[in-house]
């Protein structure tokens, strides 16, 4: 059981895969659901803890905003960066249409 009271379902896994942009077929959804349910079963150990009044800790040390002088600095070589891309065109990253052709 998870802290929320219900184990993760195949429908949850399918939804999460979609949110994470991972194409996963039905057989693998079942496989991953079994594994994730087992892992998440272990997580119920923290249900026993009284966490009221405990503040969340997102970082080891408090983060401060770091700014530098607004002076032009050398940056990555544009051609070198674009050469590493799967596809580029007119000094830009080239991608398929944002809106599907079949929509």
């Amino acid at each position: 059981m998870s802290p929320s009271g219900t184990p993760i379902s195949a429908a949850d896994v399918a939804k999460v895969a979609r949110l994470a942009r991972l194409d996963i077929d039905e057989a693998n959804v079942v496989h991953f659901t079994e594994q994730l349910a087992k892992v998440m079963g272990h997580f119920s150990d923290i249900d026993a803890l009284d966490l009221s009044g405990v503040g969340p800790m997102t970082q080891p040390f408090p983060l401060v905003n770091v700014l530098r002088e607004d002076v032009e600095q050398p940056c990555l070589d544009t051609d070198e960066v674009l050469n590493a891309a799967p596809s580029s065109d007119q000094r830009r990253f080239r991608v398929p249409p944002i809106i599907g052709l079949d929509d």
Binding site: S2, P3, S4, I8, D12, V13, V16, A17, R18, L19, A20, R21, L22, D23, I24, F32, Q35, L36, K38, V39, M40, H42, F43, D45, I46, L49, L51, V54, G55, P56, M57, T58, Q59, P60, F61, L63, V66, R68, L76, D77, E80, V81, A84, A85, P86, S87, F93, V95, P96, P97, I98, I99, G100, L101, D102, D103
Partner: protein, 479 residues
């Protein structure tokens, strides 16, 4: 040819004093790689030609009387999740195969500036997610001490490279134990510095609030030497601590007289009996060397695994969103961008990476955020507070590094929870942001090495290395 020293400090001294050339050193290490790499698979890439050219350049500098760096001619292996300009960096993932970064990680450029010579990029669990290096897309690394067993992970290639004599020192990264655990399993020294002491610029991010770069070495002094070389403020990492690198090598031989060493009386169970026996011997050795053993409790420690396996995947699910087939690496073509993302990521990531991305996405998703991620962050606070109370009483804490010695291939790879339990003693340090190191201390089951972990408070590297040095001295007498 003169004998090649086995330590980084010995090599640097011998080259600087012209007893041997950098070329002789690099040829000797490359010969060792040629002899055993087929069996070990420590590397994704061996940069032999570049290494020889670099060595020749150092020898030319010495011959011409030009100044050389403090690590001039020291061969070093670099984990393949650290960016190397123009040299393939894969994170052992198909999604980055063939990618040549347009810049160097800060740690890589600092080592080069110091004169160290990169011999290659070492294998890892894909994106540093794993504890055995079996999750590499390019095949596992084998433990040089017993090739039927894993080297640990995720920095298994870097640990194996040092254990096999492919390089005297190497770099790894440690998010939940990925330097210390393979160091323990391969019988070498491994250090995770304080969060922010070493720049993360150019380290391919896994879990940004936990990741830290650190060294592997055959001696504690070498580990201190490399930590010194890579530490210190870097403007390119906003979490970098704004102070210069501390002097650490001198600490190694200072001894432990008068130090207070913490023994955790409520240590989470699960360690093999031989591992616990070595830990008790380590306490006895430190006591004999003049330290005082103090019993402490860390009641929240047993919850660290749950906190880690919610926080790290949550951060990973965000960090790995960048691998979308647009700017670098693999792309699987499709009719629109959304289909391209889904197909590219399905083809490019291995199962463990997918599991952690899904776990993290779930823990962060609407309706579950408070129950999982939010709760994990509060547990993280409890663990940090436990350490704070403990360090009011002691200078350092001693635990096993790994509950188990190196295990056979296939033992845990299909059982994620069994694999995750390998990290039970290393994870709390990362959650707190503290330094810790693993020092080899005798052997356990099947004659495989046991590592003892020294934990210290934030920026407590100096006391940590003092205790590490004392353990190393005592380890000669360990079983």
């Amino acid at each position: 040819m003169a004998t090649i020293p086995t330590t980084a400090s010995g090599i640097a001294a011998a080259i600087a004093s012209k007893q041997i050339t950098a070329r002789e050193v690099i040829d000797s290490y490359l010969a060792q790689i040629t002899a055993r790499e087929t069996d070990i698979h420590a590397f994704n890439l061996v940069t032999a030609d570049a290494a020889r050219a670099h060595a020749d350049a150092i020898d030319a500098d010495i011959a011409a009387g030009r100044p050389i760096g403090p690590l001039a001619g020291v061969p070093i292996a670099i984990k393949d999740n650290l960016c190397t300009h123009g040299v393939e960096t894969t994170c052992s993932s198909k999604i980055l195969e063939g990618w040549k970064p347009p810049y160097d990680a800060t740690v890589v450029s600092r080592l080069r500036d110091a004169g160290a010579i990169m011999v290659g990029k070492t294998n890892l669990d894909e994106f540093a997610m794993g504890s055995s290096t079996e999750n590499s897309a390019f095949g596992p690394t084998r433990n040089p001490l017993d090739t039927s067993r894993v080297p640990g992970g995720s920095s298994g290639g870097s640990a194996a490279a040092v254990a096999a004599g492919f390089a005297p020192v190497s770099l790894g990264s440690d998010t939940g134990g990925s330097i210390r655990q393979p160091a323990a399993m391969c019988g070498v020294v491994g250090v995770k510095p304080t969060y922010g002491l070493v720049s993360r610029y150019g380290l391919c991010a896994y879990a940004s609030s936990l990741d830290q770069v650190g060294p592997f070495a055959t001696t504690v002094a070498d580990a201190a030497l490399i930590t010194e070389a890579i530490a210190g403020h870097d403007a390119m990492d906003s979490t970098s601590i704004p102070q210069p690198a501390p002097a650490l090598v001198a600490s190694v031989s200072q001894g432990v007289a008068g130090m207070r060493i913490g023994r955790v009386t409520d240590l989470p169970a699960g360690a093999e009996p031989e591992v616990i026996a070595r830990l008790n011997e380590a306490f006895a050795a430190l006591e004999a060397a003049g330290a005082t053993i103090v019993d402490i409790t860390l009641p929240s420690l047993s919850y660290a695994l749950t906190a880690y396996y919610l926080i790290a995947p949550a951060e990973a699910s965000s960090n790995l969103a960048r691998y979308d087939g647009v700017r670098y690496g693999l792309r699987v073509n499709a009719v629109d961008t959304n289909s391209m993302y889904g197909a590219t990521r399905a083809a490019g990531f291995g199962d463990e990476v997918k599991r952690r991305i899904m776990l993290g996405t779930y823990a962060l998703s609407a309706g579950y955020y408070d129950a999982y991620y939010g709760k994990a962050l509060k547990v993280r606070r409890l663990i940090a507070e436990d350490f704070e109370r403990a360090y009011a009483q002691v200078d350092v804490i001693l635990t096993p590094t790994s509950p188990v010695v190196a295990f056979p291939f296939g033992d845990k790879v299909d059982d994620p929870m069994a694999m995750y339990l390998c990290d039970i003693y290393t994870i709390p340090t990362n959650l707190a942001g503290h330094p810790a190191m693993s020092v080899p201390f005798g052997t356990g089951a099947h004659g495989m090495p046991v590592g003892i972990q020294v934990l210290a408070p934030a920026l407590g590297e100096a006391p940590m290395f003092r205790v590490g040095g004392a353990l190393e001295n005592a380890a000669g007498g360990a079983k």
